[in-house]
């Protein structure tokens, strides 16, 4: 059993598990942090961005000044943003049988895999995962395609040139594999390969293994996966949460008794408690708006935004913010808000019960109804008519490199009254802000990551007790910035096995058993013999049929009747030879009784020697030696077959045959 690790990002995993005869890809995350090296794509022409000076080498050589621009001491690639794909060379991805998706954030690389690697398998995911994943992809494609950029920079990627660039460009890894965003056609084609599954549904893969999605409590439709055969169980835990937010709670019990537990997608900000962060978010939002400033919240169109809107729903009246407009701007804003209300069966119990009242499960419906929350596909059109300040704007993309957020950063960045509040944990906020410097607006970083923290992981592992834990290397040591925090790492026994990008891991357990079915008529013919209380044995003569990874013992064919005629045998009659089987023996030989029996049969001058493994009975007169050991008996006599057979029969008297 092997694990091929194709992604180095612990929360955007992409691993391939070879288990029995199947090849299963676990998640298909796309590392978008690469986009932070690019200049933002402004929706409206930005003189500031277009007038940034080109970057030149220390010696004054300016051959890269078209590709690289300088802004407040940082260098950015002036090109269509590109993404860092999962590793494609480590394993032939056309051999992947299935892809299991655990949540909508972990499927963003899907089109790259399904459309460009010869993949012919099936993708399994829950319905909300697919629907919201589609929205995220749609938004991403839309953000990038609506600002066409003529230029595609590639010169800087040359290894010799990259070495000369300043950090972080110099340190960017695998730049040659970075790719531009996919198209909507590719998205549609990729999504068409997905088969929808429900929680606890058992899916057979070629009869060899069974995969089952379990609720992971992190997002709408998010799942952990169980991959098991009859005797082995691998759990894949990715992006799980034990907090009470909107999704169905995490199913922990089903993870018990795993041989291997692959653990990914823990919180990216283990020191920040989501409750505290929500408090910070609300307080800072209120303070800004009260002072007449605007609040910008760069976010994804689904996920934490639902919880934030719910918090604000409760908070705005108490904070006297009822008259402040909240805008949600995304090409998929409408669909996202509406989808969230229709996936009742995937929601937590409280929200499910609301549906029967009937009430919308999320209170943002009421915010929309009362005009406190308005949503728009983009800043163009209706929004520009309705827009009034001070206001709160939720919009993407959290990287601040594309999407409507770029416009608001340009618009509000110059005033210290305004605040940008980062709630998504995927991007370093300082790096995200770098191309907007110098910036007057206030920046608040309150990342809300509801995924498991290390205390919760420790409790989870104690509860489910897997034999082995496998996790990204980042989880086996404290974060580099807080090397003293020994509590911020996985602490389990035996120590977790770690992996890194482009590494192949042999998982530490061997398969010992395989289940074989036995046909009823064959079972009927067996005559078990009890060799000790509770243990019976029977010999089985059968033909083993193996098809679709299922093994069946069938009765052996009857010995072929001599036909006598010249009739040609049909292929199907070509049966294997069945040799007459010798009976099997069991039992042990009590030496004293054996010696007595020998004496009774006329052997004299018998000597017994004890050896390390048993006894040697010496028949000195007959010059014969009988070695009796636990699992074998040898009669050694010189060319006296009669004597050997006599002695053999005496030995056999003490043993059982079956």
């Amino acid at each position: 059993m092997k694990l091929y690790c194709l992604s180095g990002h612990p929360t955007l995993p992409c691993n391939v598990l070879k288990f029995k005869s199947t090849t299963v890809m676990l998640d298909c995350g796309l590392d978008m942090t690469s986009t932070l090296n690019f200049l933002p794509l402004p929706l409206v022409q930005s003189p500031r961005l277009s007038n940034l000076p080109g970057w030149s080498l220390k010696d004054g050589n300016a051959f890269l000044d078209k590709e690289l621009k300088e802004c407040s001491g940082h260098v950015f690639v002036d090109s269509v943003p590109e993404f860092c794909l999962p590793e494609t060379e480590l394993i032939d991805l056309s051999t992947v049988d299935v892809i299991l998706i655990s949540n909508y954030h972990c499927m963003m690389a899907l089109p790259y895999i399904t459309e460009h690697t010869g993949f012919t398998g099936t993708v399994y995911a829950t319905e909300p995962t697919v629907q919201i994943g589609r929205l995220l992809m749609e938004e991403l494609v839309n953000f990038i395609e609506r600002v066409p950029k003529a230029q595609s920079a590639s010169l800087w990627k040359n290894k010799d040139i990259q070495r000369l660039l300043p950090s972080p460009l110099k340190d960017a890894v695998e730049v040659s594999t970075w790719r531009r965003c996919y198209t909507m056609q590719e998205v549609n084609s990729a999504l068409s390969k997905i088969q929808l599954v429900g929680y606890s549904q058992k899916i057979e893969l070629f009869g060899a293994v069974q995969v089952t999605p379990l609720s992971s409590g992190y997002a709408l439709g998010s799942s952990n996966w169980i991959i098991q055969s009859h005797y082995e169980k691998v759990s894949y835990v990715s992006g799980s949460s034990l907090l009470t937010t909107h999704p169905q709670p995490m199913d922990q019990a089903s993870l018990k008794n795993s041989d291997v537990l692959i653990l990914t997608g823990l919180t990216q900000i283990p020191t920040a408690n989501p409750d505290g962060m929500v408090g910070e978010f609300c307080s800072n939002l209120a303070l800004t708006v009260r002072n007449g400033g605007n609040v910008l919240v760069p976010c994804y169109p689904s996920g934490v935004i639902y919880d934030l809107l719910e918090c604000l729903y409760q908070y705005i009246d108490s904070a006297g913010l009822s008259s402040i407009p909240f805008y949600f701007i995304s090409p998929v804003a409408n669909s996202s808000l509406e989808f969230s209300q229709i996936f009742a069966e995937w929601l937590c119990h409280n929200k499910q019960t609301k549906v029967y009242l009937p009430e919308p499960p999320f209170p943002h419906a009421e915010l929309i109804q009362t005009n406190k929350l308005k949503h728009y596909p983009s800043i163009h059109g209706d929004f520009s008519n309705d827009f009034r300040q001070p206001c709160v704007v939720f919009t993407g993309h959290p990287s601040l490199r594309f999407g409507d957020v770029v416009h608001f950063m340009e618009l509000w960045g110059k005033s210290s009254l305004n605040t940008v509040i980062f709630t998504e944990p995927d991007f370093s906020y300082l790096e995200a802000l770098a191309p907007y410097q110098p910036l007057a607006m206030k920046c608040i970083y309150c990342p809300i990551d509801t995924r498991l923290n290390f205390i919760q992981v420790s409790k989870l592992l104690k509860e489910v007790q897997p034999l082995h834990v496998v996790c990204p290397e980042q989880y086996t040591q404290p974060p580099p910035a807080q090397s003293h925090r020994m509590d911020l790492m996985i602490d389990c026994q035996p120590p977790a096995m770690s992996y890194r990008r482009a590494e192949v891991l042999a998982l530490p357990f061997k398969r010992r058993y395989e289940k074989i079915e036995i046909m009823p008529e064959l079972a009927d013919s067996l005559v078990p013999m009890e060799i000790k209380p509770g243990v019976s044995l029977a010999t089985v003569s059968a033909v083993l049929h193996t098809k679709d990874n299922k093994h069946v013992l069938q009765p052996p064919p009857r010995p072929a009747q001599p036909t006598g005629g010249k009739k040609r045998k049909r292929a199907s009659d070509d049966i294997p030879d069945c040799k007459v089987l010798k009976p099997l023996l069991s039992g042990s030989i009590p030496v004293d009784q054996f010696v007595q029996t020998l004496e009774k049969h006329g052997f004299s001058d018998i000597k017994v020697e004890d050896t390390a493994k048993g006894h040697i009975v010496l028949l000195q007169e007959a010059e014969t030696l009988i070695q009796i050991e636990e699992d074998s008996t040898h009669i050694i006599c010189d060319n006296d077959e009669m004597l050997r057979v006599r002695l053999r029969d005496l030995v056999l008297k003490f043993l059982q045959k079956f």
């Binding site: 307080s283 303070l287 908070y315 108490s318 006297g320 309150c446 003293h484 925090r485």
Partner: protein, 834 residues
Amino acid sequence: MDPECSRLLPALCAVLADPRQPVADDTCLEKLLDWFTTVTAAGSSLLLLQENPCLVELLFRVLKSQDLSSRILSFSLRLAGIFAAQEDCFQYLQGELLPMLFGEVGPLGGAAWTAPAVRSGWIQGLRTLAQHPSALRFLAACGAVDTIFSLQGDSSLFVASAAGQLLVHILDLAMRGPARGRCSPQACDWPACAQKIVCHIEDSLCSIATPQVTQALNVLTTVFGHCRGLWTQGLWVRLSPLVARLLEKDPVPASHSLVDLLLSVARSSVPSSDRGLWETLAQTLSHLSPTQAGPLALGILKLQDCPQALRTQAFGILLQPLACVLEAAAQAPGPPGLLGGAAGDPMTADTLLCSKSACVGLLCCALTHLGLLQPLPQRPSPWPQAPLLGAAVTVLRLCSGSVAPTSDVGGRLCAILVGCGRVQRAALDFLGALSQGAGPQESVTQVFSVLLEYLMSPESSSMVLKKAFQATLRWLLSSPKTPGCCDLDPRTQLFLRELLPVLQKRLCSPCWEVRDSGLEFLTQMTRHCGGQAGFRQALLASEVPELTKQLLQDPESYVRASAVTATGQLSSWALLAAPASPERPGAQQKSLLVELLHVLCADSEGFPRRAVMQVFTEWLRDGHADVAEDPERFVARVLQAASRDPDWEVRAQGLELALVFLGQLLGPRGSHCPCAVALPETAPPGTLAQALPEAAPPGTLAQALQVLCRVQLFEFAFRALFDCDRPVAQKSCDLLLFLRAKAAPCGSPQEAGDSPNVASVEATLQRWQAGEQGQPLGYLEPGAVMAVLRSIDLEGLRDTLAESSDHVEKSPQSLLQDMLAAVGVLGENEADCY
């Protein structure tokens, strides 16, 4: 005994002894016992029994009856104990009844004994009975002491505890015998009963079973805590070797009880005679685990008189956990820490690192103990203020994860403590307590920085924030003032400037507890520093006052109440408003008055309304500028609103405000005032009190009465006089008595006594008293008011109100009637059946 009660008693006794008529209510039996206790305390029990033979009969019938409830049996045992407490009555009952009740032939051997109530009644009966030497002989004769020994291990904790108490009582009684001085340890002259108990204690102390050791230690703790005889010194001399022997065992059995005993002995008269006690204490300190030794160390340090060496040892134990923390977190060997450079105790370090619960428990205890010790006059000296500050700051930093210890132990401690709210709360409390002592500049800077870190951190829970606010307040208030002026020193001002934006953010928190703590902090801070220029400047430059005002509309009533108090306080110091427009000076302030009046009239919850009344009372008392403009109108509006309030505390506070107003009009109460309610000691400048001296001439008084009539204070007070809530009525009564006393020397009873106005007022008041409060009094003339005041029996009313509300129903007669009625014996309820 009251003849009526005597008449009812036989029927009641019959009911009690009748198993077919169970008494449903236990409290009746308790009340009955209380009554008998009172009756026997006032007179002879023997006479009582002779006059009421039904009582003895009841006891006999209870004994004979097989199926009586355990509660009646328990009651009877306790009742017999009450009677037998008097020696002559004891003799009267001793012949037959007492042995049957308390001896082996009684309930002791029967099935009823399985009920804990019966065992408890048996113990309590004996406890009451054992008051005289005859009782001791009786106890010895009936073998009760052995039974009490066995009851010490009873499954019911109440019974077990009562058994221990009874043993102590018997021992005390036996040793209290005539002319017993200090007994020798050998105690050959000790009474047999005492000998037996002491031997039992000795056996228990030597037992290998911890529960028995615990029982013995608990009995001894009570002995040394409650018995004052010199014999206790002899007892200690006899038993101390056995107690010391407990320390040789590992682990020390019943360590909690042992600590209690040793502290109890140390607080008694024993130390004056036995210096060996200090040695035992020192040994105990060194034998117990760090967690067990903490309470003992604290107890020792609280003792008034104990050897310095022992105090040093005890203090060392309290300091150990913090010393270990300091040592573990130290980046480099620094100056001698808490223990003068000595290394931390490895046992303490092990306890800290062995598990999270042990670590948290030990640290919290250490912090709490040291915090309790800090303000005491007998705290150890020199008090290591600077290292303790350092330790508290380090613990807080370990909890927040903001310190990066280099050592392995430090790393493990950090992993255990990070995010631990319990330790954070204890450390913040301790840090607050340390504010009472000075500290080096550097330490204080660290304190302010860690407090700010906690106040800012989104990870701080609401409880931790509350503690952080409290500690911050204590440090701010104790910070040194700039020499030569009464303003905050520059460092504190700097801190304040950093603090206010944090407070601002906390006032916007979605968690109401946080908003509330923030407002409480602001109120206290303003109360104490409102006059200091540095504070005023920083506060006015921030948005805190404006935010506070907005919180008057908070959805949470507690927060609204705190906002009312805070705005009231800010307004008192003229800190609320942004600079008002030149053409309307004070416009903002006025609007707060209107806003608070609106809260008083319209808020649906009681807390904000109560807060408004307190603010208004304070404003009136202190001569708040807006109130001083037209106090008459202010009082009229407030009283009008308060009189309609459904919350009695608001109405009572209204009377408080009225009293302040009266004080200002008529001058504070003088020596002739009979009232108990306290008035402010001094009236603030600029109020009416200055215009009206205490002995106001008749003309001034008439004017004052006119004012009171105009603000309808009398209508308010008279209504309150008949308020259904007693505290309101009492307060009103006090107020009217005060007023009458003030006016008495001046007025003449004839002036308006017979006018029709007075008659109508009296008629209305009578209707009010009867509960019909709908009709208003209308405008009252001062003369009529005085006449009415004189006609009402205010003293009588005050006495009635002083009685508890159930005084009528509490009479023994009523109790007996109730009990009989409950089982239908009185007959009058029978009619209800048809």
